[in-house]
Amino acid sequence: MSDDKLVRFDGLIKRFGAIEAVQGINLEVVRGEVLGLLGPNGSGKSTTLRCLMGLLRPTAGHVTAFGVDATTEGVAVRARIGYIPGELRLPERTTGFELVASIGRLRGGFDSRRRDEIAARLDLDLERQVRDLSTGNRRKVALLLAFVSGSELLVLDEPTNGLDPLIQHEFLALVREARSHGTTVFLSSHVLSEVQRAADRVAVLRAGKVVIEGTVADLRGRARQRIEVWFEDPPPAEALTAVSGLVDPLLDDRRFTATLSGPIQPFIEFLARCRVNTLLVEEPDLEEAFLDLYAESE
């Protein structure tokens, strides 16, 4: 495995009895990137991440991390990963401080200044007992444990479940900071906007298979965009409909509307030859791309 590939899933299959939760995943996580694993509940995201963490043993195929087998060399692999489980359960009768200290002792110690800084950013009171914390605050404790670890790779399974928007914003800031310091982030989510804002690259899972993989820009580029143009001097309707990528074109006097599927470049070149008053291109949403591409994969 080349040095820039931090993690590689090679034909990963995981069955639970008759259910095949993961059906042959081939995927690579590149050093320094933020890779979003996107898909609805039950698509195999958590199973994939738990195989990487050595919590599940692949039925077939391999998971390699940092150049070694993640199943047989789990201790060495986990030493370099900060992980947030999707189904987060924390011990109840302990304070946040005690829990962080305990996990710190298992990992060779945490930087207390960094701990306090992250706790302050997440607005987390570590002196409270875990049993008195809300779901969101428990999730903050898990976020703190992942980010304070200083690991090379963060594996975050549905990391913002239960967090309010302000803390989600802070989470994204922490991800960007970690990335800027060279940390690789592999996060799963069914929240498209979160992945859209956080990830460089996206892999979409459906029924245990990677159905789409690409950069966020790719996905957005493949998304349909609604466009609206007001012409000073409208071109012939036939010329407009001949532009590649335009779907449902409608010219009504000087107002032209259509949906653009594919690259926008041919349309821009066409408009350059016209006299245009206003041009409106709606921001393509990853959710639209996701749904379109999901439909394509069916």
Partner: protein
């Protein structure tokens, strides 16, 4: 503190209340039982009633020599209640720190750290061993103090060996629970299998001697290994300790190996 020490400390912190309550409960049971000895010693009614029972039944219930200090303690505490309660304590502590923790998802955060999964289970087995030792120590202190207060003259070494045998019987069944928890993340199975073995062992040791042809089979029972030598009266042979401790180590090792080879249940 090293990583393994922390792995032991985590379940110890989690079970400290349970260990405290088991200690208080068993010490209170012992103290209360011993407190009735002076009143019992002066009556002959119960001894006469026991004399009316068939010999086999008296033996099965551990009521022989009930009017002596050793017979009184055996019949009231060490024939059934103390070994059974220590067994239940060991099984419940094991279940609480293994299968229940795993299926609830609380173990995942620990198992996702740079630790060997077998070390996590081993640490929990050691934590249960420490917990059961503390409970047993509390029992022994309560027994010795109460004996001194009411003048229950009984050999201290025989008493301690009896208590240790009861603890080993509990650990034996706790180790069966560890073996089950290592093999599968199913709390009902962990509880059910260990309790079924404990009850089968008790009834085997108590009831098989009632039928002459079946009597030799009682030697297969862990209860017979522990208490069949009448340890409150007769010094215990070394093999009885080994017969309980060695299989317990074997069961625990089986659990560790199985745990290292299987999937971890999620919450």
């Amino acid at each position: 503190m090293g990583r393994f020490a922390e792995l032991v400390a985590i379940p110890l912190r989690a079970m400290r209340r349970a260990v405290l309550w088991w200690s208080v409960g068993l010490a209170a049971l012992i103290a209360a039982t011993v407190a009735f000895w002076p009143a019992f010693r002066g009556t002959s009614g119960i001894s006469s009633a026991i004399d009316q029972l068939p010999g086999g039944l008296v033996q099965a219930l551990g009521l022989q020599d009930f009017n002596t200090p050793a017979g009184y303690l055996r019949g009231n505490l060490y024939e059934l209640f103390i070994p059974l309660l220590l067994t239940l304590a060991a099984i419940s502590l094991v279940m609480g720190q293994t299968a229940s923790e795993e299926t609830s998802g609380r173990m995942e955060l620990i198992l996702a750290q740079s630790v060997d999964h077998r070390a996590v289970l081993l640490a929990r087995a050691i934590a249960v061993l420490i917990g059961l030792t503390l409970i047993t120590a509390a029992m022994a202190v309560a027994q010795l103090v109460a004996d001194g207060l009411v003048g229950l003259a009984i050999d201290v070494s025989l008493l301690l060996s009896t208590i240790i045998l009861c603890m080993l019987l509990g650990l034996f069944h706790g180790a069966i629970a560890i073996a089950t928890a290592g093999a599968m993340a199913r709390p009902p199975a962990v509880l059910g299998i260990a309790i079924a073995v404990a009850l089968a062992g008790y009834f085997g040791a108590a009831l098989l001697p009632l039928v002459d042809a079946l009597a030799p089979w009682r030697q297969l029972s862990p209860w017979y290994w522990a208490l069949g030598g009448n340890p409150l009266i007769t010094p215990t042979e070394f093999w009885r300790y080994a017969a309980l401790a060695l299989p317990a180590v074997g069961f625990a090792l089986f659990g560790l190996i199985a745990f290292g080879r299987r999937d971890i249940a999620s919450g």
